[in-house]
């Protein structure tokens, strides 16, 4: 595009990179103030630069692309270090830098006592860098850099408390499961190049747009499905969601930033970004929707039986990500993205609030040892309540708007999806409020001395609470809608009421079970028996994976490959060859018995054979 203004897009990710580098190399000897200043400064500068860029770009009717240098060039394939901003990415940029900055601020308070303060902020900034690369990338390979990079930061941050074994395990699990997703993503890229000869998004999407819709399957469906595999990994969808709950081993701000607000939505972002491809592959769309629904239900069910406050919210995240997928799958891309944004607000808030609670209780995360905190930490309570109402979809909170958009679109697509969706919404309201009630109502059941968090922590909570309340009125859907085909969603008031009703019902049920009649929960759990145990044990998915994949892989490698193939076939083959050669030599060795007469016999044998051969050749010339 000629005469594009040079807006130095590269500065947006580079600010946090510099922050990460400074803190990472020098931060160890710096004061906490300086570290925090650098980290927040980097994040905030980035935010400012985003705002500045967007204001300079105005309406953004077409994407603004900036190309910097060639990254990989081989033959016809040319992948550049190209960044782009369009309406979709602008939304993500604001969320990432905005919410990211808030969480940075919050973390200064939360991590105050940690020895790894410098390390933490270095990682956090590094995460922002990669996330921004992901969002800004103009080609899939660069996007993949961000994609893997955020995975790396997630790995580092989940494993932040690396002295604990579970943290290391969880980190590795996250990375490896994500790698499984990335496997799909890479294959999708490979196919793109094979098909389109490029990874540049504009080129790929233009080419895809020109292709016919694939009724059954085809190359676009293949690409789309492989992208879905990648998205499932990153956005914790069935069957790859298992890493996300474990990821709560990381510090709470991390859970808020990475595992709620930003990184996990990358899968949603990529699917939305690739809408041109998906629109040509209805089969893939259907798959996305079904996976989303399944994820939403399963995670919500598990969420009802978790006792760790962060785990509850983690499953809730999984469940909400499922909603987003449903949105994408039924063609309501803008609704899906809208939900990404509102979810970023209220889920970040939920986590930060939970963090505040944990902070207040000196690290206690078990709901069973909370209760009655409403009065002790009121700011936390009120902000958390706002978030809970938002997630429960209560009008006029933010969650209501985005969730309804999705559900309505689902109804338009297939009514049964709507019904599953609203039931899940009810469940969501139930388990979120279960947590709220267990935490803030009733008697305090723990032994710590709760105290309100410092201002540096609750100020972000307040800001996020405001956004959770009013975020639904941001004109995000209108802003990005032109990017996608017209969504045919009828604004059916009945359906809206139904969904809100389910949400309220969930809240009331929770209120009934956990506030009015404490003990009902245990009773009903006992009544449900096996089903409850299954839910409480997360449907034994981890165990199933262990039994079906991890264990066979490790044991198989050890028993079959290492002890079998390696030691028997490879080494054994080698030894066998050696033994054979040596054995053959041994034959001759035995002939060499030291006896002269035997030697003479061999010589005679040789002479006879020589003669015999000559005679056998016959006479004549």
């Amino acid at each position: 595009m000629p005469n594009q203004p040079d807006l130095q897009l590269w500065l947006i990710p580079v600010f946090p990179l510099i922050g990460a580098f400074l803190n990472g190399t020098l931060g160890r000897n710096w004061s906490k103030g300086l570290i925090a200043g650098v980290a927040i400064g980097a994040s905030a500068l980035s935010f400012v630069w985003v705002v500045k860029t967007l204001s300079a770009l105005g309406q953004l009717d077409t994407a603004h692309v900036e190309r910097y240098f060639t990254w990989i060039a081989s033959g016809d394939l040319n992948v550049g270090f190209d960044l782009a901003v369009d309406r979709l990415s602008s939304v993500m940029l604001l969320v990432v830098t905005g919410v990211g900055t808030l969480i940075h601020v919050y973390a200064v308070g939360y991590m105050d006592h940690d020895k790894g303060f410098w390390r933490f902020f270095s990682y956090l900034n590094l995460f922002l860098f990669f996330m921004l690369i992901l969002v800004l990338a103009q080609n899939f390979l660069l996007l993949f850099v961000g994609w893997e990079g955020v995975g790396l930061c997630s790995y580092l941050l989940i494993g932040f408390y690396f002295l604990e074994k579970y943290a290391g395990d969880a980190a590795k699990k996250a990375f490896v499961v994500n790698r499984v997703g990335d496997f799909g993503f890479s294959l999708a890229m490979l196919l793109m190049v094979v098909q389109f000869g490029s990874l540049d998004m504009t080129k790929v999407f233009t080419a895809a747009k020109a292709m016919p819709v694939e009724a059954q399957s085809g190359i676009l469906t293949a690409i789309a499905l492989l992208l879905v595999v990648g998205a499932c990994g990153k956005s914790a969808q069935v069957p790859l969601y298992v890493w996300l709950p474990d990821a709560m081993a990381g510090p709470t701000p991390v859970s808020a930033l990475i595992h709620a607000a930003t990184m996990v939505t990358a899968g949603v972002y990529v699917v939305a970004r690739s809408s041109e491809v998906f629109l040509k592959a209805p089969l893939a769309m259907e798959v996305v929707a079904v996976i989303g629904l399944l994820t939403a239900v399963v995670a919500a069910l598990i969420g009802t039986a978790q006792n760790d406050i962060k785990k509850v919210f983690a499953y809730s995240t999984v469940s909400q990500l499922g909603y987003m997928f449903v949105g994408l799958g039924v063609g309501a891309f803008s609704a899906g993205i809208f939900h990404v944004v509102t979810h970023a607000f209220f889920k970040a808030l939920l986590f930060l609030g939970a963090g505040s609670v944990i902070h207040a209780l000196h690290g206690e995360q078990d709901l069973a040892r909370m209760g009655g905190l409403r009065s002790k930490i009121p700011i936390t309570y009120w902000t958390l309540m706002a978030a809970a109402l938002a997630i429960a979809g209560v009008w006029p909170f933010a969650g209501f708007h985005s969730k309804d958009a999705i559900l309505l679109a689902a109804h338009a697509h297939a009514p049964w999806m709507f019904w599953v969706g609203v039931v899940t919404a009810g469940l969501t309201a139930f388990y979120v409020f279960r947590a709220i009630f267990l935490c803030f109502f009733g008697e305090y059941r723990g032994h710590a001395h709760p105290h309100e968090s410092p201002a540096i922590m609750y100020m972000p909570l307040v800001i996020l609470a405001l956004l959770s309340v009013a975020g639904g009125y941001l004109p995000i859907m209108d802003w990005i809608a032109p990017l996608f085909p017209e969504a045919h969603e009828a604004h059916d008031m009945t359906l809206v009421l139904i969904s809100v009703g389910f949400g309220l019902a969930g809240i009331l049920a929770a209120y009934y079970v956990y506030v009015l009649k404490p003990g009902t929960a245990e009773a009903s759990a006992a009544r449900l028996g096996g089903l409850y145990r299954a839910i409480a044990n997360k449907f034994y998915v981890d165990e199933a994976y262990d039994a079906a994949i991890v264990h066979p892989l490790e044991q198989g490698s050890r028993a079959v490959l290492l002890h079998g193939v390696e030691q028997v076939v490879v080494e054994g083959g080698l030894k066998g060859t050696v033994a054979m050669v040596r054995g053959f030599g041994g034959l001759f060795r035995h002939l060499q018995g030291g006896n002269i007469r035997s030697y003479a016999v061999y010589a005679l044998l040789g002479a006879v054979v020589f003669l015999g051969l000559m005679v056998a050749k016959g006479g004549s010339q």
Binding site: N595, V601, L604, V608, L611, G612, V615, G619
Partner: protein, 166 residues
Amino acid sequence: MDLIFFLLFASIAVGCGISLVVQKHPIASALSLIGVMGSLAVLYLLLGAEFIAAVQLIVYAGAIMVLFVFVIMLLNAAEEAPSRKTNWPSRLLGVPLLAVFVALLAYLFDKMSPSLGTVTFGAFTTGGKQIGRSLFNNYLLPFEVTSVLVLIAILGAIVLARKEID
């Protein structure tokens, strides 16, 4: 007559040869060998090689075999003791191989015989004169060089047979 002489001394030669192989006592073997050599000398005569026949008796049967007998006596060699170790290769392969060997050669001579003549006593006789002339003209070098051989033999015998180095 030639045929009778040939057959007679050929049989003696073969007989003594067999005796050499089957006799257990080295002295008996040595005597058998002398028998072979003697009969060969007669055959040489039949072939007209007078000088060689003489040398065969003087050098071979006379000198060399005396040396053998002397050593046998010196070492007081007794009858072969039955072997403690069975020598499988010679036991298994010896006879068949020898049989094949002889058969092969006989086959070859049979093939060759049409181009070979016959031997009649006196048809071709060489005496010391021809031998000497040839030896000092055509075969001067080998003749001279054999002196080295003899030198080595003397030297070798001295080196090996003198009293021990302590």
